[in-house]
Amino acid sequence: MVDLSVKIAGISMKNPVMVASGTFGFGREYSRMYDMNELGAVVTKGITLLPKEGNPPPRLFETPAGLLNSVGLENPGVEGFIRDEWPYLKTLQVPIIVNIAGETVEEYRRIAQRLSPLEGISALEVNISCPNVEKGGMAFGRHPDSAYEVVRAVKEQSPFPVIAKLSPNVSDIREIALAVEEAGADAVSLINTVLGMAVDVEKKRPVFKRVFAGLSGPAVKPIALRMVYEVYEAIRIPVIGMGGIFSWRDAVEFILAGASAVAVGSAIFSDPVAPLKIIRGLEDYAARNLQTRISDLVGLAHRNAAEF
């Protein structure tokens, strides 16, 4: 029997497959389709201090093996989350990681403070990488100093483990990873979407009002994998890998590159049960490779790279 369980940042998960923030709402939407308790963890849509209405349509645009989005963090705000979403989420038997975003360091601090009495939150994922908002978001995640400041502020407020979600839209992601580790992050998750754009050839203007949007899907997987590989070597805290994971094979690549857990995002749109299929695939793979624990595979590609 293979053991898929992992422990990351103090969170015990029965398997290393989570759902990525923004692709799974607050869970309820999918509760009719399958048993969410089979997942490793659920990561919520990003929440902000005040409700946010998000960006005007269009918000989605398909690209070759990819998806551009410009949702703009539409969410009910921390009070709306506590009132309308938390009562359902807390009934689940699966670790809940709440993704938080802010326009200022103070906002991150206040959200963390407001969430701290909620027993049952497994961790906060600090979004310093959303590319689709005017202020905050990715702006914090592009510089080591501001990334440090945000994570430090949340860490000081929060009784929960803190995961920093990193942006790929930087020249050296290792610098950011090191800064958030220094600030006390318990883990990092990467990557958020890659900044991209599309042009409407009939209207002869950008597709999105905000011009640039976030690219996800298989198109970004090689970039994500490279960054996970780099960050794994640079820091000591665990890495949660994501970016275009559509199959168990993709998930294994991330694990071998150094991810202690993975998150499935846009694949859910194509196949809502993709995370469950990936879990089954990981079980088979681990069994075939005579591993008893999936965690023995983490980062193996680094050691084996020496064989060339």
């Binding site: 692709t23 939407e29 998000g54 645009f61 196949d271």
Partner: protein, 259 residues
């Protein structure tokens, strides 16, 4: 999610296909205006599912129909599928058309492939004995006209318009609606519309000026199809955004801002 076998997938007018699926759960529960979210390929490209309005169901046979126009990669792949192949579908999803209050005259306005959900609606409405209604249907050209006789068999008198005048009146179905309402000053009616954005915008204007309710079926690129990803936003009249997949695709005209 269901795996649904294709029974029929044929071009019924130029560029317009009728796809019949063996999907008893859909046939049992679908309401007019609801949609199916269809995975066109097994590979991750094109990445998203495609939403299609349900055009008809047959409960006894356990089948559901969609009618689609080949406009891009997803629909092009779909048009190559053969009977016996299996499609991964989600649905029925979304909120459909409400029934008209007793004694009101249903007025259907459809443009192009937007006629599809209105076919299902007409069939459901015709279950009320002695129903009379009006259908104003527009197509770009005569060769793209499909299924208008279905409306007639459901008790609707049909008026046609084409952009190029090859069939019916040259112009738009909204002009036909306007002409009709001019002659019927005090009619108790309700409008059901689906089609291009300009058609919906015009229907909204006409219905508002005549003080009659209108229900519009909107189209938008969708991600999840169930209200989780917030990708298919439409501006709400009350501020913020509604989601076409979850709050719609059918909206009362006053609920949303069409631009």
């Amino acid at each position: 999610m269901h795996q649904a076998e294709i029974i029929f997938n044929e071009e019924v007018a130029r560029g317009i296909y009728l796809l019949r699926l063996c999907a008893d759960k859909v046939a049992e529960s679908a309401n007019p205006g609801q949609f199916l979210h269809v995975k066109c390929t097994k590979v991750p490209h094109p990445l998203l599912r495609r939403p299609f309005s349900i055009a008809d169901t047959h409960r006894e046979e356990g089948t559901a129909d969609i009618i689609y126009r080949v406009v891009g990669e997803g629909t092009s792949i779909l048009s190559q599928k053969r009977p016996g192949e299996v499609l991964d579908i989600m649905g029925p999803l979304g909120r459909g058309f409400p029934s008209p209050p007793p004694g009101t005259l249903p007025l259907i306005v459809g443009g192009g492939v937007g006629v599809a959900p209105l076919l299902f609606l007409a069939k459901e409405l015709s279950k009320v004995a002695g129903l009379e209604g009006r259908a104003f249907l527009g197509f770009s050209t005569g060769r793209e006209i499909f299924d208008t006789e279905v409306f007639e068999s459901c008790g609707f008198s049909v008026e046609l318009a084409t952009d190029d005048g090859t069939c019916g009146k040259r112009g738009f179905p909204t002009e036909l609606l306007e002409d009709f309402l001019k002659g019927e000053k005090k009619v108790q009616a309700v409008v059901y519309a689906c089609g291009p954005r300009m058609l919906l915008l015009k229907v909204k204007e006409i219905a508002a000026s005549c003080g009659i309710p209108a229900y519009l079926s909107l189209e938008e690129r969708m991600g999840c199809g169930i209200g989780a990803c917030l990708g298919c936003a439409v501006k709400s009249a009350k501020g913020g955004y509604k989601k076409v997949c979850r709050d719609g695709p059918v909206f009362e005209a006053g609920e949303v801002e069409i631009w």
